[in-house]
Assembly symmetry: C2
Homo-oligomer: 329 residues x 2
């Protein structure tokens, strides 16, 4: 039987230490299965958390790493009518995507819009839809309405800036480093500032008295407090990460008298709860934004799968110029 190279982990721990290369058997597709040759996969924060064992999902170990990634169908098994050789597909997270090839049930794959480049397609499953859904699912944003976010330089944060701009919403973006201000403004951020304890005091001026009803939080702690104080009546703070590892503190008054509410967003739950049609409609809209240049995901470095430890090391650096992408070809 053929084998394929994978990057897997047999235990949780320091990501750089636990990730390792391993050959795995690659079967010919059985009934209902397809074989996919993988092309690219990003190293996402959630992949790092999976290696550490701190994510909301755990796989039986050893497991091949990688939650997202894209390939092209190479062999179509019997009984599969909706895939053709060459189709661009997202392979199942449960099998891991940091691998050269996989044979798996066609029903567990997602066919992606053919207009996407393989690099774009490899990153359409996690960050752009997280930004898209958070901008759509909590507040019925009106044209020209303001949204505020921290971690604005994160991959999701950058998608939020671009998608909001494309859809006619304005963004206030909090960052931690001065040198990011001009860069994120160039990306489309309306207001980009280094976060300070009194940032919230300027919200009224910036928004002409119409403070945001939607705040996106990937930091927690004091930064989430700044977002809370920036929200107007009925505002919602949506948390999708906790980089500071500090809890969010809610004062009682604003909860009751300003009707603020606090929610979490997890793309994995969205996929579990929504229909394939909703998902595919969103992907097409994201593909259109990619196609017309309104959405770009910066790539800092492309690493071959064989250099997986260097790739994970690079992904752990805070100051990157974009995603670390694995070249699986």
């Amino acid at each position: 039987m053929a084998t394929t190279l994978t990057a897997r982990y047999a235990a949780n721990g320091n990501p750089i230490e636990v990730i390792e290369l391993a050959e795995e058997a690659l079967a010919a597709p059985a009934n209902g299965e397809i074989s996919v040759k993988l092309l690219f996969a990003p190293v996402n924060p959630s992949d790092i958390n999976m290696l550490e064992g701190t994510y909301g999902v755990k796989l039986p170990l050893p497991a091949v790493a990688g939650n997202e990634g894209v390939g092209r169908v190479e062999v179509v098994g019997a009984g599969v009518s909706d895939y053709q050789v060459g189709d661009l597909v997202k392979t199942p997270s449960t099998r891991g995507t940091w691998r050269q090839a996989v044979t798996c049930p066609a029903a567990d794959c997602i066919k992606l819009p053919p207009s996407l480049t393989p690099e774009q397609a490899s990153m359409i499953y996690v960050n752009p839809p997280t930004a898209w859904c958070m901008l759509h699912d909590f507040v019925d944003l009106q044209p020209g309405e303001w949204v505020i976010q921290n971690a604005a330089n994160s991959a999701v944060g950058r998608c939020v800036i671009q998608i909001a701009k494309a859809l006619g919403w304005k963004t206030i973006n909090l960052v931690r480093r001065e040198e990011l201000v001009e860069e994120l403004k160039a990306l489309g951020g309306d207001i980009v500032v280094v976060e300070a304890p009194d940032t919230f005091k300027q919200i009224k001026t910036w928004t002409n008295g119409k403070p945001p009803r939607l705040a996106l939080n990937a930091v927690g702690g004091d930064s989430a407090g700044t977002l809370s104080k920036s929200l107007g009546d009925g505002g919602k703070l949506v948390t999708y990460g906790g980089m500071s590892k500090q809890p969010i503190k809610l004062a009682t008054g604003p909860l009751i008298f300003k009707d603020l509410s606090y929610h979490g967003f997890w793309m994995t739950r969205w996929y579990a709860n929504r229909s394939a049609q909703e998902r595919d409609t969103m992907y097409q809209k994201l593909a259109d934004l990619f196609a017309n240049g309104e959405l770009k995901i910066a790539v800092d470095k492309v690493c071959p799968l064989r250099e997986i430890k260097q790739a994970v090391t690079a992904a752990l650096q805070e100051k990157r110029g974009g995603k670390i992408l694995l070249n699986l070809q």
Copy 2:
């Protein structure tokens, strides 16, 4: 012109000090107005907060105190067709209810179900509907489903126990004093325990593996943390008070992976946002619960309006056997 005795405050501060008796002019009803002879009014925590100046609403000072209270229509002005002499009415909060009589627009009053006793009617505007709405507006509770609350001995907490029981839901009630356990069980509480740091660990056993999706919080701080940890997937924590004056701390993980969300409830907003018909339907259901004995509000003491400082002093005592009610007759 006739005058009427009122309890008013000219400044915010220590409630016992700022509350004072004063005569106020009482006009005959003009077009569209009614004159109401007040009967009873409770001293609620929100009234105390208004005196302190810590509530979400402020009135121009001096102001007559009291948010709820009931009277009977004594004179019906010209152009008023929906009120008759003797009707039981809630008079407007903006005019204060700690007074012997008031003349005000009929449109600002609420006609209450005639089956209510004056004492019940005087307390139907704040506590029972707060419990009713929190049990209805956030989670679509199924028959036999569990709800958890802290401050279970508060007036709202006691309404929650009784209304939940009447409607077929089960309650886990956290209290701070052992001597309340049997009393609240007798009131209908299914589980009543003195709160401890590990209380949440027993939730699965108590609920047979179906943890609550609704938690009601009037304390904040660590107690709100206990409620959070008790909630099942998709659970909602609804805050209507913050007696500990400590913020609620939200860990990022449960927000994202357990889909917990945090909300505030304010009866004043509910009244502002909902129709008179919705309100009256709820009042009728509450009146039915009062009538058949399923809902009772304990009264610790009835004080005449002239003893307002003693009444406020009594309301500030933590260990009471029920509401302090002002007799306004």
